[in-house]
């Protein structure tokens, strides 16, 4: 059951051009920094990236946008990235914007083995165009729902705080975000962690993602953990 690989290059070595990837993280919080760096180094192109955000110009998925490795982004919010906006407006980059809860739940559905979900998000908006709808009774009132399909991703790249050699993962604070459900959803899931321990060292009660969902795990070489909006208060 040893899922350990030496490093990020080893972990992503079979990701090839035109792969569909899921990347965990919210903004720059909890993103698979080392896997992204390895993808940039490898130079694979034509990637479809399912990720809540698209990074900033010089960090996160923004690094892969700069090198034109991304063909399509599926995200809920893509502000704070000038290069992204330029590629989108020039037609170089394809973008599908979907509600954040829909994004999370389509990952969840994949990990739970369910082909589709029904959600009220986007009913009556352009998100609903061309989609099947169905009415259900909710709290005594008939309400319309959109059918949204589970994602089908070749690889999920996630970042956890701690992991063990069996691939069990523990996340930290709001760096958890999309990582657990993406870990469950990838055909091949690659987890990078800040601390990698032998199986048996993590308390089984504290594991967020069981190792069955994780195919490869490695300790990230370094974590910059950049802060996007540094907001502070002053001591009185």
């Amino acid at each position: 059951m040893n899922k350990t690989v030496a490093n990020a290059d080893e972990a992503i070595k079979d990701i090839s051009d035109n792969a569909v990837l899921m990347l965990g993280g919210f903004g720059l919080c909890g993103i698979p920094e080392n896997s992204i760096a390895a993808l940039v180094k490898k130079g694979v192109k034509g990637l479809t990236c399912i990720s809540n955000n698209a990074g900033v110009d010089d960090f996160g998925i923004g690094l892969m946008l700069k090198t034109r490795q991304v063909k399509k982004m599926i995200s809920s919010y893509v502000g704070e990235n000038a290069e992204f906006e330029r590629q989108l407006l020039s037609g170089e980059l394809e973008v599908e914007l979907i509600p954040q809860g829909t994004l999370a739940t389509r990952c969840l559905a994949a990990g739970y083995g369910m082909p589709a979900i029904f959600t009220p998000a986007g009913v009556g908006t352009e998100v609903a165009e061309g989609k099947e709808t169905r009415k259900f009774m909710v709290e005594g009132v008939e309400k319309e729902f959109l059918m949204e399909m589970a994602f089908d991703a070749d690889f999920a790249l996630v970042k956890a705080w701690k992991g063990d050699t069996h691939g069990n993962l523990v996340f930290h604070e709001t760096a958890r975000n999309f990582n657990p459900m993406m870990a469950m959803a990838g055909k091949v899931t690659i987890a990078e962690v800040e601390e990698l321990v032998p199986a048996g060292e993590l308390d089984p009660d504290h594991i967020h993602t069981p190792g069955i969902y994780v195919h490869r795990i490695f300790k990230g070489e370094r974590y910059e953990k950049r802060i996007e909006q540094r907001t502070v208060r002053t001591k009185q």
Binding site: L89, Q100, T174, I227
Partner: protein, 218 residues
């Protein structure tokens, strides 16, 4: 006329003891500063936190601890972290009592537009569509008119919709209004603002019944 702080202060009066509240980016974020002392309110941040606290002291910022606006924050005693699917699970299953968010336009049937200006703004809806589709109670903090003095409280939204028939209450720099089957019902005037001024600034159907009191804000 109210400034942003005034709008936030007025909205804070809608929060009740024991509420779980989701605050959007912008004016709604300011509401947290005016929740009355001693009231038990838990703030939900849709990136995976219940019990959002104030900004950290300088030097104590934690890159793993941010809010939905990607700002560094803190937790409070009793906080809990969870993943994004659960976060929208609690929103969809209506466990969150109140959602406060901004808008570019609202229609008199409760439609809201706040995520896209075709050809101009391509940032995405984030969690807004999920929030407005499911929230038990939605209060919108917005400007009554745009810079060209055109009403943003409309008969029909001109921008792409975020959600249909979902807004319950609106607080603007001029007024507090409820959304009813008859249209916007005027509840309160901002200090120094007349009913006539509100009428002129509102394109959508406006219901005015009896004397409209001036709002009380400390």
């Amino acid at each position: 006329m109210l400034d942003k702080t005034g709008i936030a202060k007025r909205i804070a009066k809608e929060i009740k003891d024991g509420y779980y509240v989701n605050l959007g980016i912008g004016i709604p974020t300011l509401v947290a500063n005016y929740i009355p002392q001693g009231m038990n309110v838990v703030l939900q941040s849709e990136n995976g936190l219940l019990g959002m606290g104030p900004f950290p002291f300088e030097g104590e910022e934690d890159p793993d601890l941010i809010n939905a606006g990607k700002q560094t924050i803190t937790t409070v005693p009793g906080s809990a972290f969870f993943d994004s699917a659960m976060s929208f699970g609690m929103i969809r299953s209506r466990k969150v009592d109140l959602t406060i968010l901004g808008a570019m336009e609202v229609a008199d049937n409760g439609d809201i537009a706040n995520w896209k200006i075709p050809g101009k703004m391509v940032k995405g809806m984030g969690g807004a569509m999920d929030l407005v589709a499911s929230a038990k109670n939605i209060i919108v903090a917005m400007q009554h008119v745009n810079k060209a003095n055109e009403s943003k409280l409309l008969i029909k939204c001109s921008l792409p919709l975020t959600g249909v028939g979902c807004v319950k209450k609106i607080v603007t720099e001029l007024a507090v209004l409820d959304v009813t089957p008859q249209g916007f019902r005027l509840l309160e005037r901002a200090p120094g603002i007349s009913v006539e001024q509100i009428k002129n600034a509102t394109e959508g159907r406006l219901v005015i019944e009896g004397d409209i009191p001036e709002m009380k804000i400390e």
